[in-house]
């Protein structure tokens, strides 16, 4: 293996001296585009994109940065959608309070599911999360407040802080954009923090982390809960955007979809899941009007992408010479 002290071939591409500034500029451009986008595209489409982008980013916090493959994230996304929808519709809560309840509810679900699953490894972890989320699905199917097959319909968007009317689609768009940005900042901080450093070391060498005295399971559980909470934020947003919460959001297909988005874009990169979500949502939008079966097409696209770009679209870019020269680095 690396039995010599020479750097591994291809590892050392000199990082551009202004890489930091270029990265910042790219973020600024993305921000400007996001602010201007509703002038050119349907706000509802853009909001869907942002909500799923946040969902995939939350999922990536677990898969990409903790190394755990959950097959149950629909429970957090869809669960939060129900909680938020119920709170604002039945209890008349404000949208921000409704979202907060969604986040807390998803975090609580995450704590329970995580506590049960976290000591399992690999495929067993995925299977247990799937089983638990299916239990939650059947709970939602039976529970009264979710209204079974009908779901919770005509959820009012209400007024943000009692002031800003979210029924105005521009207001709503900028609110969603702000929440999305907040979610990403939280993820970024989480990953680049003292805690994130320990997560990284656990991913790199779990045994060694244990031997240094880290209770690995607790760190993983904390990451799981954080990921669930942020998936809940995305789910709550979704309920406000589309003004309904249904069984689709808690179904296992949703868990599969978010895996697909994340892998398509590239795990362990901040931008990857957002691009992946964008791709899937766009595809779904175009195909919705055609006769093609959406799932088959997305499945084929997925397969082609995975075969051609093993690291995902953004992941491949990061790993390319240009990407490395700009100082990008995927976690793996």
């Amino acid at each position: 293996m690396a039995g010599k002290s020479e750097p591994i071939a291809g590892e050392h591409v000199a990082i551009h001296p202004k890489a930091g500034q270029i990265q910042l500029a790219l973020v600024a451009v993305a921000l400007v585009l996001a602010v201007l986008a509703p002038q050119f595209l349907y706000p509802i489409f853009l909001m869907k994109l942002l909500a799923f982008g946040l969902f995939a980013s939350a999922f990536n916090l677990l898969l990409g940065y903790t190394g755990l493959l959950s097959f149950g994230h629909a429970a957090f996304f869809g669960g939060a959608a129900y909680f938020t929808a119920h709170a604002v519709k039945v209890w008349g809560w404000s949208p921000e309070a409704g979202l907060l309840l969604g986040v807390l509810g998803a975090a609580a679900l995450g704590l329970v599911m995580g506590a049960i699953a976290i000591r399992r490894q690999g495929i067993y972890f995925a299977m247990i999360t799937l089983a638990l989320s299916q239990m939650f699905f059947f709970f939602c199917l039976q529970a009264r407040f979710t209204h079974g097959e009908d779901g919770i319909q005509s959820v009012p968007r209400g007024h943000l802080f009692g002031l800003i009317d979210l029924n105005d689609s521009m207001n709503m768009y900028y609110f969603v954009l702000a929440v999305f940005a907040f979610g990403l900042i939280v993820i970024w901080r989480f990953v680049n923090s003292p805690f994130g450093m320990i997560l990284k070391s656990i991913r790199e060498n779990e045994q060694r982390a244990v031997s240094l005295g880290y209770s690995v399971a607790r760190y993983k559980l904390a990451a799981f809960v954080m990921s669930a909470a942020l998936a809940g934020l995305a789910g709550g947003l979704k309920a406000l955007i589309f003004q309904f919460a249904t069984l689709t959001d808690v179904a296992w297909q949703m868990s599969g979809e978010v895996i697909l988005m994340t892998l398509l874009g590239g795990i362990g990169t901040l931008a990857g899941p957002i691009f992946g979500a964008g791709l899937v949502v766009t595809l779904q939008n175009y195909l919705a009007t055609s006769d093609f079966p959406v799932t088959i097409i997305t499945g084929v696209v997925f397969m082609v992408c995975v075969l051609l770009f093993r690291r995902g679209l953004v992941g491949e870019f990061f790993a390319s010479k240009l990407g490395r020269r700009l100082g990008f680095r995927a976690q793996s």
């Binding site: 591994i8 003292p194 320990i198 990284k200 060694r208």
Partner: protein
């Protein structure tokens, strides 16, 4: 006595890898565990550090029974090990590797809201250790890019960063050049003045040189104990282990 085992045993299915091992590791002493390949040395380490649950026997660390304690807890109690197959965090730099070890005892492991720069105050302590172990020129290299011997040195550095009461080193000098062997031997002797060291070592010159006490293991059982002179003159040891070597 900081660490002791009584009647320690481990079965893998029907195979007894370790049987009836009594071991006493004392403060400020270097204790060597030697024996031919497959004798069960690493398994004993895994049992003592609780990475494996013993089938039989008791283990006491600093007066506390740890027979059923979790491995991370054992580490926090002051028993820290290194691994036979070098265990570093490959994509972290040398300095980051050491800092990961420093984070927990310094209460900087759980803050998910602080920037990474919060860890800067561990730099001085980390650099001290890095310097001491001759890794200063490689401080900002990723661990994966180090030579095998330097990875081992780095692992020792991260282990020492925890300032453990008891240090378990599994073949710390394997794969090192002569110069590094000398340096590591010196460091082990240094740190052993204020803590207990138990080490597995194949290099008998090193064992003769720095170890105060030697336990010889063969097929999972202890066949001899004592200082190096006593053990090396034991006929059983000579035939079982050193016959080929000395």
């Amino acid at each position: 006595m900081v660490l002791s085992a009584r009647g320690l045993g481990k079965d893998f299915g029907g195979f007894t890898a370790v049987n009836d091992v009594d071991l006493d590791v004392e403060h400020a002493r270097i204790h060597a565990l030697i024996g031919p390949n497959g004798a069960g040395k690493t398994t004993v380490f895994n049992l003592l550090t609780k990475f494996l649950q013993p089938t039989r026997g008791r283990i006491t660390l600093l007066g506390t029974d740890i027979t059923r304690t979790a491995p991370d807890k054992v580490a926090r109690m002051g028993l820290v090990r290194s691994f036979q197959i070098s265990a570093v965090f490959p994509h972290l730099t040398v300095r980051e590797n050491v800092k990961v070890a420093l984070q927990r005892p310094n209460g900087l492991a759980t803050q998910f809201w602080l920037p990474l720069s919060a860890l800067d105050r561990l730099n001085a302590r980390a650099d001290d250790l890095i310097e001491r172990l001759g890794l200063a020129p490689y401080r900002d290299h990723r661990a994966a890019d180090l030579s095998y011997g330097r990875k081992r040195v780095l692992e020792i550095a991260t282990t020492l960063a925890l300032d453990p009461e008891v240090l378990l080193l599994d073949e710390p000098m394997a794969g090192m050049g002569q110069e590094d062997v000398q340096m590591v031997a010196r460091i082990i002797r240094d740190v052993a003045t204020e803590r207990a060291v138990l080490m597995v070592e194949h290099n008998l010159n090193v064992v003769a040189d720095i170890c105060d006490h030697v336990t010889v293991l063969q097929r999972g059982e202890i066949i001899a104990q004592g200082d190096y002179a006593t053990v090396s003159s034991d006929p059983r040891v000579r035939t079982a282990y050193m016959g080929t070597d000395a």
